[in-house]
Symmetry: C2
Subunit: 433 residues, 2 copies
């Protein structure tokens, strides 16, 4: 233990980050900036090659480190044996509505031969309470005395994609250790990149705190989406109401309605909690209700749009839509669980033609969520005017909304980004859905 | 119109506030402080007598004004004819789960003979969207040309009982008018007491904004109460989890679990919205689910306490509880819709004996919610030790929790206020429920 603490103090600690995605890559960057010798592992060889060639696959993170140090990024696990601290940043998705921890489990199998006395293993992935114990601790305590000759910790990631100003200098890092010694080491370790490190009372508390953070967001997105439905029924402008309520400087937190929900956290994490809760005998109500609202809202919006078009053009047989935005939120090149794909699917099922435009995505990404291959159109008046309507799903700042307004026959706005152009909309082309 | 604007400018405006309760009385106080000639009306003669005698019935508001000006507070409506601006601050409760606007309707009948050209009538009560139109505007437009020779506005109250630092100098006042002229007058008028006046786009928007503010609180209280249930099932300390999550400095807003919900706003306002929404064809899901959680949580807690006691004392036949706190939230002498009364009712139904202690309430208040007559016990060791357990419902700061700990056989804490004494609780007397 003294050894590892000393290495942290004099910054000679060697770390390995496993999983170089939206969490692992920024984390790598933070440690590199602090001149910590950092190895990277990703089983996706494409990512490894990108990094070796100095290319970036996440727009906001430009890393030259692995181009300069080509022997520090791998698709295999051997290097783990040469590391003092190993951090796992792997995805934890859902599979048939159940937590899918297979990435972490596979990784554990892979690194097991390379783990040795004196190391610390840290998990940053979002998991259900007890998972670190099940998958990491219970395995390793057969070989090591945790807290004596091996150390295990959990620290939930708090990355905020698209937020340029996010930093662990401003945002505290929650950490936890399996024993007191583990807590001591992990606290000291994360102080390298974070001004405020908060040591929670147990690993389970830290695991659950991350779920609470995202549960809060998921339910409040559900709330404001349902509130939008109510306002529509009452014929009241939901954005005006939110503006008025947001002037309250205590006890209120502004959320805005949208086309659904997206990203790797909000539509997934709550179900980790409800899954384990149900296993223990309590079926959470708010999680499932807000989940249903956030999923159904996309279908609701499409129905509303089609009804509008049908009422406007009585004899119209074929409708052609232009979807604006593929990212799950604005200003990021991140399409994980994007509601845009939900719209793709719904329109496809209804056999309605559509194209899309997103400056962050020249083409769609095929994967678990999306099976539809398309290329982004070029953003010019001629192209835009070909469609019966544009549907704004993602409100990227970079988009020229005035041009979009001028060239579109109709604009259905799910984000309220056209509010500022509404005043001059004498033709009534803007419809908030 | 010029006349009323001029009077506001030179502060010669005469106002009448109808309903001198938790909203009307502080509002009166704010205008009196600005040297505005203010009349008060409350049909409850007891209140009028209190005020004339300089006694205060809301602890935090001491008003000598009506003692000095005995002819400015009435239980009848005549004085309305001598006022420029009339503000209605009457309660809007639920009756059989439906909005009960009878107080406002009765008031409208009462003041109608005394309304005249050039006046402005403002509603501050929380109502469903459209209610100001239904009850005020539609009646008065038969007699006046609203916006020309009579003015109508709506401004939702934002009082925060128990918050010494609340002020409309810090918190913006949302206002709205039926016409542009109405908006102009109401904006100028509230600037007398508020630094920031926000003019919303319509009365319906202002009405709805207030409901959104409290809907947000109601759903998040439901969320954190349900989250507590989940944490219990997982055997994780919910307060530790909340502490860890609260270190997130963006995208998170801390709520703490409790014994249920209370006050005149949170358990009521959401049902105003769901009632009107249902009338328009949409049955809101999140409101009803969070409502159910917040109502059921009290019963759940009592069941948990009784189970604990029964497991501890196998042969115990009669249990005696001491309820700590009668107010719906800490540091206020306000028992409206207090969860303490829910506990009273549940224990009474189960024929379990209990007493209570609350420094703010020497005796219980009989009314719509509570039918049980009791006197607060004296807070001393001998008294406290008579009971099998204390149950903390309201966490007033003024209570001596160390004494409570020492003298109680067991303490069931619904608020987490005993967290700081937990470390030294070697006897395991503190149980968080």
């Amino acid at each position: 233990m003294k050894n590892i603490l000393k290495k942290i103090t004099n910054k000679s600690i060697i770390i390995t980050i496993i999983g170089l995605g939206y969490v692992g890559l920024p984390l790598t960057y933070r440690f590199i900036k602090k001149k910590i010798k950092t190895y990277g592992i990703d089983t996706d060889e494409k990512k490894v090659n990108y990094l070796i060639n100095g290319k970036n696959y996440i727009k906001s993170i430009k890393i030259n480190y692995f181009k300069k140090n080509k022997n520090r990024v791998f698709s295999s696990y051997n290097i783990v044996s040469k590391s003092d601290i190993i951090i796992i940043c792997l995805p934890t998705p859902l599979k048939r509505n159940k937590p899918d921890l297979s990435y972490i489990k596979k990784c554990m199998k892979g690194i097991l031969p390379y783990l040795k006395e004196g190391q610390m293993l840290i998990l940053e992935s979002t998991v259900y309470p007890g998972a670190t114990n099940e998958i990491l601790i219970s395995k390793l305590k057969q070989r090591f005395v945790i807290g004596k000759n091996f150390f295990i910790g959990y620290s939930p990631e708090r990355e905020n994609p698209g937020d340029k100003y996010f930093s662990y200098q401003k945002t505290p890092k929650v950490v936890s250790g399996h024993t007191k010694n583990c807590s001591l080491i992990i606290e000291k370790f994360y102080k390298i990149i974070s001004k405020k490190v908060y040591v929670s009372t147990s690993i389970a508390v830290a695991e659950t705190s991350k779920l609470l953070e995202n549960l809060y967001r998921a339910v409040n997105i559900g709330l404001i989406n349902e509130f939008k439905i109510i306002c529509k029924k009452l014929d009241i402008d939901v954005f005006d109401v939110i503006d008025a309520a947001s002037t309250k400087n205590f006890g209120f937190h502004k959320f805005t309605p949208g086309p659904g929900w997206g990203g790797h956290c909000i539509p997934i994490d709550p179900f980790y909690l409800s899954w384990i809760s149900r296993k223990k005998g309590y079926d959470p109500k708010l999680i499932s209700v807000s989940g249903k609202i956030n999923t159904l809202i996309s279908k609701r919006i499409v129905d509303e749009i089609i009804l509008f078009i049908k009422n406007k053009y009585r004899n119209k047989k074929k409708i052609r839509f232009l979807i604006i935005g593929l990212s799950y939120k604005k200003n990021v090149d991140d399409d994980r669980e994007s509601p845009s794909y939900a719209f793709f699917k719904i329109l496809n099922n209804k056999k309605i033609f559509f194209d899309y435009y997103d400056p962050y995505f020249p083409q769609t990404i095929l994967g678990r969520v999306n099976k539809i291959k398309k290329k982004s159109i070029k953003f010019n008046s001629k192209n835009i005017s070909k469609y019966d309507a544009s549907i704004i799903i993602t409100d990227h700042d970079i988009i020229d909304y005035k041009k979009l307004y001028k060239s579109s026959k109709l604009i259905f706005d799910t984000r309220g980004v056209m509010k500022k152009l509404q005043k001059n909309d004498k033709k009534g082309k803007i419809i908030f859905v």
